[in-house]
């Protein structure tokens, strides 16, 4: 069975019990060698989708293939050829860094030396600690070790389930740099994350919410699809500000965004008009500036449409 996509998902649904619809007719395709992001809040269904692709769960409906192999029938071939890194740190804490890596290399029928090239960048940083127990590593180093273990058999497709959750900002940055380098080596990567800012680091992303795909596109196109004027506003009373803005007649949406509130407007409106409105509402310390649209704004917009 040949297939031009590295990952091909067609109408996959999954329920847990009667009430929880984890995935609702999800379809998406990932091209070979692509770095694809699965972006969505907690509970959106990201982990379920990755587990179905990693052959750990069976979908209730729909079909999916990885490297042309069916996730239900050909699970043995998939397990031999993909790398999987679960969301929770899942290595042996009482084994040393080197013992963990040797174990995973051996069960995939290879050796560390054979595929050392692939993990040199990542594992190189861990080598000074190779006799340290995995449980005693820092969060960032654990992720690097887990990634090394998932890569040691040179997989064609790599599934990463929230690899940067609970990792400090510097390690997160490093981690994404590693993913970029892996992509250059031709490995297809499907990575899930709840962090919107990481979406722009992917080639294409799927925004997922409550088991449904809201949009699949390049990060630039998703940002570009946001067609409303956007202002960033701050005053001394942020809580009241959101409520007041939501009652403003031209307001399309108002969401907190860092230290500011992002205000999307239904039509071209002067910032002065907003300023005047807020003064009328007795706000002080008003600061209004044009805002650059981020993927998070688009995501909020897509979510509110649902």
């Amino acid at each position: 069975m040949s297939n031009q996509f590295a990952i091909d998902i067609q109408g996959v649904s999954k329920r847990y019990g009667k009430d929880v619809q984890a995935l609702d007719e999800v379809s998406l395709q990932v091209r070979p060698g692509e770095l694809f992001g699965l972006i969505g809040p907690d509970g959106a269904g990201k982990t379920t989708l990755i587990r179905i692709l990693a052959t750990l769960l069976l979908a209730d409906e729909g079909q999916a293939t990885v490297d042309g192999w069916d996730v239900r029938k050909d699970y043995k071939q998939i397990r031999r050829n993909v790398g999987y890194m679960p969301g929770r740190f899942s290595l042996y804490q009482d084994l040393s860094v080197e013992e963990n890596l040797t174990f995973f290399a051996t069960i995939f029928g290879t050796t560390i030396r054979e595929n050392y090239d692939l993990i040199r960048d990542i594992y190189g940083q861990l080598e000074p600690f190779r006799t340290r127990k995995a449980g005693k590593l820092s969060g960032g180093m654990k992720q690097k070790l887990a990634l090394s273990c998932a890569l040691i058999h040179k997989p064609s497709v790599l599934f990463l389930d929230e690899p940067t959750t609970g990792v400090d900002a510097v390690s997160r940055h490093e981690f994404w740099e590693m993913l970029q380098r892996l992509r250059q080596k031709g490995i297809t990567i499907l990575v899930s994350t709840p962090y919107m800012d990481e979406a722009s680091l992917c080639e294409r992303v799927a925004l997922i919410q409550k088991g449904r795909i809201l949009s699949i596109d390049t990060p630039a196109n998703i940002v570009g699809s946001f067609d409303k004027p956007l202002l960033a506003i701050r005053t001394d009373d942020m809580y009241r500000l959101i409520n007041d803005l939501r009652q403003f007649e031209s307001t399309h949406s108002a969401y907190p965004f860092g230290d500011y509130v992002h205000l999307a407007l239904d039509g071209p409106i002067w910032a002065e008009a907003v300023h005047a409105y807020l003064v009328g509402k007795e706000h002080t310390g008003i600061e209004i500036k044009p805002a650059e649209v981020t993927i998070e704004d688009s995501f909020m917009e897509l979510m509110s449409k649902e």
């Binding site: 769960l57 993909v82 273990c149």
Partner: protein, 368 residues
């Protein structure tokens, strides 16, 4: 093959790096043997008894003297009247009262049947029976000596010979029993948490998304624990031999080989439990609670299977411990060879293979 070897190595690391658990695993058999050995015993020494001697003759004096000389009894009080007996028992001071009637000596001389009454506190029936047996034996032996030379018509003397355990030492019963129970429960417990631990830690997820076969995982989990369980068996056997003078009359090699077989049976039963459970706690509860009672009650360790109701007798056949106790008693006490226990060995082998096959079948190749 390489996969299996690295898996065994990984499991061995888990076992030896968890020092506290290792200490408990090896310390537990020791504590159990010593507890069973010293606390649970049917032998009685220095039991306190009371005497109501109404005959006050030479004969009663002699018997009383033999009571004290035997080492089993210690005279607590000499009672004065029959009404004292009840009071004495109520105070809970003694378990046994021997009553010598007033005409004891005259009756004996006139060849009229003489009666000595033994009154026992049967709130604890086992102790009461044992005390009565000891006391009757002492009296019986005394009377036999007295009648020496005189013809005692129609008297039949039974001569009892206790084979293999002439002194009826309870250690001969409990050492095989304790080995069996420890090997059964500890082995099942160790492996039942071995797979559920991987499920709880999330490492099972990673193992599943790999070319590892279920059979490799299961066999790789069983093998390292065989060594550990054998170390436990060795501890119990050594303690039995050196602290309680338990003999090993049969071949040591055969004994060890049978232990290995039984350990594999128990370990695979533990694995089977862990393929069906999700958390370590549940697995441990099942392997300890659900296995403990049948193993102790239906294995013939404490209660003889022959005297159980038919249903329980049939049920006892599926308890692996029953067969192992038969084997180990034969080898240790009777010193019999393999030709006498091949049937039991075959049954255990069949059970082990069944458990392993069922584990591999039940092994979940996916989550949920």
């Amino acid at each position: 093959m390489k996969q299996l070897l690295i898996f065994i190595r990984k499991e061995t690391y888990h076992i030896f790096r968890d020092k506290r658990t290792l200490l408990i695993l090896l310390g537990m058999p020791m504590v159990q043997v010593l507890l069973f050995g010293f606390a649970i015993t049917n032998e009685i020494t220095n039991a306190r008894i009371a005497i109501l001697d109404q005959s006050k003759g030479e004969m009663s004096r002699n018997i009383i003297q033999r009571f004290t000389a035997s080492g089993y009894f210690e005279i607590d009080e000499n009672l004065q009247s029959l009404s004292d007996i009840e009071r004495h028992f109520r105070q809970g001071k003694t378990k046994l009262v021997a009553v010598f009637p007033p005409q004891l000596e005259e009756n004996m001389k006139r060849n009229v049947p003489a009666k000595i009454q033994l009154v026992a506190d049967a709130t604890d029936p086992n102790t009461a029976t044992t005390l009565i047996n000891y006391a009757s034996a002492i009296i019986g032996r005394y009377l036999q000596e007295q009648s020496h030379g005189q013809a005692v018509p129609l008297a039949i003397n039974t001569e009892v010979k206790m084979l293999y355990n002439p002194r009826l030492k309870s250690v001969y019963m409990f050492v095989p029993g304790v080995i069996t129970i420890i090997l059964m429960l500890m082995s099942a417990m160790m492996t039942s948490i071995a797979i559920t631990r991987e499920k709880e830690l999330g490492t099972m997820e990673v193992l599943l998304v790999s070319p590892l076969r279920p059979s490799t995982i299961i066999i790789g989990k069983v093998i390292p624990y065989i060594v550990l369980a054998l170390a436990m068996a060795a501890i119990v056997l050594l303690l039995g031999a050196f602290v309680f003078n338990m003999p090993i009359r049969g071949s040591l090699v055969l004994l060890i080989a049978e232990c290995v077989l039984f350990v594999i049976t128990s370990l695979s039963l533990g694995i089977l439990i862990s393929t069906r459970t999700e958390t370590q706690q549940v697995a441990m509860l099942i392997s300890l609670m659900a296995l403990m009672l049948p193993t102790i009650l239906l294995s013939g360790f404490i209660f003889p299977i022959e005297s159980m109701p038919k249903v329980l007798q049939i049920l006892s056949n599926i308890i692996p411990a029953k067969w192992f106790i038969i084997i180990i008693k034969n080898v240790m006490l009777r010193g019999t060879g393999f030709s006498f226990i091949w049937k039991e060995t075959l049954i255990l082998l069949g059970m082990a293979m069944f458990f392993i096959a069922a584990s591999i079948r039940n092994f979940k190749i996916r989550l949920a």
